[in-house]
């Protein structure tokens, strides 16, 4: 790079030689400013999504770059939301990518005072064992009046109003097949 180039990048020089004499506009621009682009413009993909908060069901566009979500904003195509989002919807990027997300399994043993680490596979296996046992311990073929009930009261589940239909379907299907009936969600609350 020659001195001429360097000089040409000096805003004072541009002031003297260009139209922006007072140095308040074009002459004052930095190289970084000239390079400025919205991060959405460099996204590899725009994934169509739906806001996870309330039940209005606003459309969201999820911008992904290098395997990371870099921006989430309203989907203008949605006839429900027309691209708009409320403060919660607007905070979805932080919800999904913020530091508050836990990404590791934690385990508290009975009477334990602190969390411990556990790998996911072990945790799933332990949970499966516990479900089998609790189910069996709480099993009823008949109730106290002798009516056939074929069920277990040994375990219960609460949750699902923020989950997908497919997830609720599998939860209901599995737990019902296990004979559990205390399957509930936020809709009751």
């Amino acid at each position: 790079m020659g001195w001429g180039d360097l000089l040409g990048r000096w805003p004072v020089w541009r002031q003297l030689t260009g139209a922006d004499r007072t140095g308040r506009g074009a002459a004052a621009r930095s190289a970084a400013t000239d390079r400025l682009r919205p991060r959405t413009a460099d996204a590899d993909r725009v994934v169509k999504s739906i806001c996870p908060y309330c039940a209005v069901g606003c459309g969201q566009n999820v911008y992904v770059r290098d395997g990371k979500v870099v921006q989430i904003e309203g989907d203008p195509d949605s006839p429900i939301s027309r691209g708009r989002l409320c403060p919660k919807g607007s905070a979805t990027l932080q919800l999904t990518t913020g530091p508050a997300r836990e990404t590791r399994v934690l385990y508290r043993r009975p009477h334990g005072t602190e969390w411990e680490r556990l790998d996911l596979d072990t945790a799933m296996d332990m949970i499966a064992d516990r479900v089998i046992k609790a189910r069996r311990d709480g099993w009823q073929w008949t109730d106290d009046e002798g009516r056939r009930v074929r069920r277990t009261l040994g375990f219960a589940s609460l949750g699902g109003a923020t989950l997908d239909n497919e997830e609720n379907y599998l939860i209901k299907k599995l737990f019902t097949a296990l004979g559990a009936i205390q399957i509930e969600n936020q809709a009751r609350i």
Binding site: W10, P11, V12, Q15, T22, G23, R24, A27, A28
Partner: protein, 322 residues
């Protein structure tokens, strides 16, 4: 009415009944300056001292007062050096000090000041260096002359720098502040002369300080008279207290300097008082400005009155035809 409504900002209450004054939970409309007072008011003082000293030095040099000239030159270069350091210290990103010369903006007193300092500092330095080393005397003299021409600008531009803000107490005083600052600078430079130069050569310093003090006191009086509500921070609060102290010192110093022109100790004491008074003036002005920015009444009420006056003036004009 809930307790928080109409709660006004802390500090002094305006004299006008509060009922007609609305604000947003008493919060300031403006953002008060984030400048640190020691850095920036200090910079104003030192810049003024330097600039006026350069002028005095040149005059002394031309009129054959080598000690005064030398001391003033040294004071100028020391003050400008310190003031530049204060300025850099106050930056949020000191490493980017160089960006001050990225553009040259007549609309920005700070840009103008930066270029001024960039020119003045080396000149003042060259002048002092030449005097101290005795080398390149002609160049030194030319530099000193140039510094003398730029010096007063360095002393006065800082008034524009603060007046060119939305801070009510500063902006509304934009006519007087340059005189206040120039006068204060003169008083300080004179004071330094009185302090450091034997009576034999300190005559110009005394005269300059007297002229400066008179200008400063006049400008301050004018500000308080003319600014109405917005003058209040110059009277009350921290700014007011500092300014009162400054004026007291300046008056005392003037009296001392005038009464005993040939005696070293009173002169020196007068010099100290003048320097201190000058510094306190800048700190006072600084704080008066900050206080006026913090209380929304100084922003809202004058604007509201201006609007009312304009409406009154407009109404008859637009009346014909309904």
């Amino acid at each position: 009415m809930s307790p928080r409504r109409r709660r006004e900002a802390g500090g002094e209450r305006p004299t006008v009944p509060a009922a007609e004054f609305a604000s947003y939970y008493g919060r300031p409309v403006l953002k008060p300056p984030v400048w640190r007072s020691l850095d920036i008011a200090g910079y104003f003082f030192l810049g003024g001292l330097a600039g006026a000293s350069s002028a005095l030095a040149a005059g002394a040099s031309w009129t054959g007062r080598p000690v005064l000239a030398r001391n003033a030159q040294v004071a100028a270069v020391g003050a400008v050096g310190l003031s530049t350091a204060a300025l850099v210290h106050d930056l949020g990103r000191p490493a980017r000090f160089g960006n001050m010369l990225r553009v040259a903006k007549p609309t920005s007193p700070m840009s103008v000041g930066s270029w001024l300092l960039a020119a003045y500092g080396p000149l003042a330095g060259a002048a002092a260096l030449s005097t101290l080393t005795g080398r390149l005397p002609r160049l030194g003299r030319a530099a000193g002359t140039a510094a003398a021409v730029l010096g007063p600008a360095v002393a006065a531009y800082t008034a524009v720098l603060i007046a060119d803000t939305a801070v009510p107490a500063w902006h509304e005083a934009h006519r007087e502040l340059p005189f206040l600052f120039a006068g204060s600078a003169a008083a300080a430079a004179g004071g330094l002369g009185l302090l450091t130069v034997p009576p034999a050569e300190s005559g110009p310093a005394r005269l300059l300080s007297l002229a400066g003090a008179a200008t400063e006191l006049t400008a301050a009086t004018l500000i308080r008279r003319r600014l109405g509500l917005v003058a209040r921070p110059y009277r009350a609060g921290r700014g007011g207290r500092l300014l009162r102290a400054a004026e007291g010192l300046t008056l005392a110093a003037t009296a001392a300097a005038a009464a005993a022109p040939r005696r070293r100790l009173p002169s020196a004491l007068a010099g100290v008082a003048l320097l201190t008074g000058s510094a306190l003036t800048r700190f006072g002005v600084f704080h008066a400005g900050v206080d006026s920015a913090r209380d929304p009444v100084y922003t809202v009420r004058p604007q509201r009155e201006r609007l009312r006056a304009r409406r009154r003036a407009e109404r008859p004009a637009s009346a014909p035809g309904g």
